[in-house]
Amino acid sequence: MADGTTLQLPHLASHPVHISLFADVANAPFLRQQLLEGNSAFEYAFLDASTIISVNHVLAAVFRAVNDLLHGRLKSRNVHSEIVFSLSPNNNIAESFRRFGISDTTRTLLAIKVLNSPATDPIPDPSSHLATHVQGQRVPFNDATLALTAEIPRVRKIYKLDSGGDAGGRKGKGGKGQPNGAMAANSTIKEMEAVILGIMAVKGS
């Protein structure tokens, strides 16, 4: 069984981030309830992975949340709720939780914890804590897994990627002349990621 990932974002080495991806989660209502009750043992960002298309997609949200934390300008309760909010294309916090946060029907769960002060942290090892409380199967956190669980049409709708009369057929100059096989689908996710990161970066202005 995979262990989850603890990684350091470049330039944010002081804030290591633990990320675990779970498939076939059976107790989403319980986990969501812990967040609603403000249970301090569950200081996580719980994302519904169906609206996450790639590793960079979620890392960009983490970067923005931690950077805003460092500059003391969080718009929501804490850095973990800010990760969920950072994913949103607009400034509606409640909506961002509905779209990207865990819901009672969540089957694929992305759990993120920012480990800003390991010494005083109530959960020194989020990996085993999650393994105990999440009823689901841990799967590797990578682009390949996320591509399988992402609901692309829904993501395209959330970020309004098809507005302006461009249905995506013109995307990807590099794909010109290539057969529309597996390569094309992959470059489309890359291309979606490129636009989505930009939309996330300019929001809140």
């Binding site: 080495a13 002081s14 960009a60 970067f63 500059h71 100059k173 590099g174 930009g198 970066a201 300019v202």
Partner: protein, 271 residues
Amino acid sequence: MASTAPAFVHTLPAPFAPVPLADADSLPPHPVPELITQGAEALVYRTHFLTTSTLCALKYRPKKSYRHPTLDARLTKGRILAEARVLVRCRKEGLAVPAVMGADWEAGWLATEWIDGQTIRAYLDDYLHGIDDANVVAEQQEELMELMARVGESVGKMHEIGIVHGDLTTSNLMLRPKNKSGRESSAYTNRDLEGDVVIIDFGLAVQSIQDEDKAVDLYVLERAFGSTHPQAENLFPEVLRAYGESHKGAKVVLKRLEDVRLRGRKKSMLG
């Protein structure tokens, strides 16, 4: 580590700033941003973003001490956001520009995708360097014309979606090689003019549907061709030819360009 980090002319803001000495030992190696170029308003660094395998161009607009702090903050915010919004818009429409990866208008930085390859200017310089050699010219001519056509198409597409660049020069047009290995410079025998034309530096870009603005964009590019590559005069008509076929309103813009050329010459008389 931090003690060996090169001294910065400007100090980047957090989190890109060099790690303070006191913390340096307790933290893992810190990727140090490398200064690439400097303009009047901004410094461009190459560094990593999100993962250590993702390169980005970090455009940092330092605080200007001669401006009132409130005004300075407002101008910096406005300019970073204007550039970022234009880049996102272009990318959404499928035009090859650097993707926006992150921004912080209070700290003054914009992180965009790193574009491999060289500027069109560098390619033209290489080409003109070898212009004495008749064989090379013949060989390169066709490829180069094809490249110029792609430049025209790209600029045309940008104008079609209502973006005017504002500083269209051969230095702000890049050629991203098809295969990632092609980052070699000089040696023109080894050149590969295949790849995507990528338009960069939208710091002066505006959203405009005015034919006049688009014509001025082309005029600026024409002047850039003429002044930095006087021997490459025969190339620019190919850019315009491809531009003219790129979108519906292009012919009107080309017509307008003729007016702008005339006015350009008369400019000194008009003050």
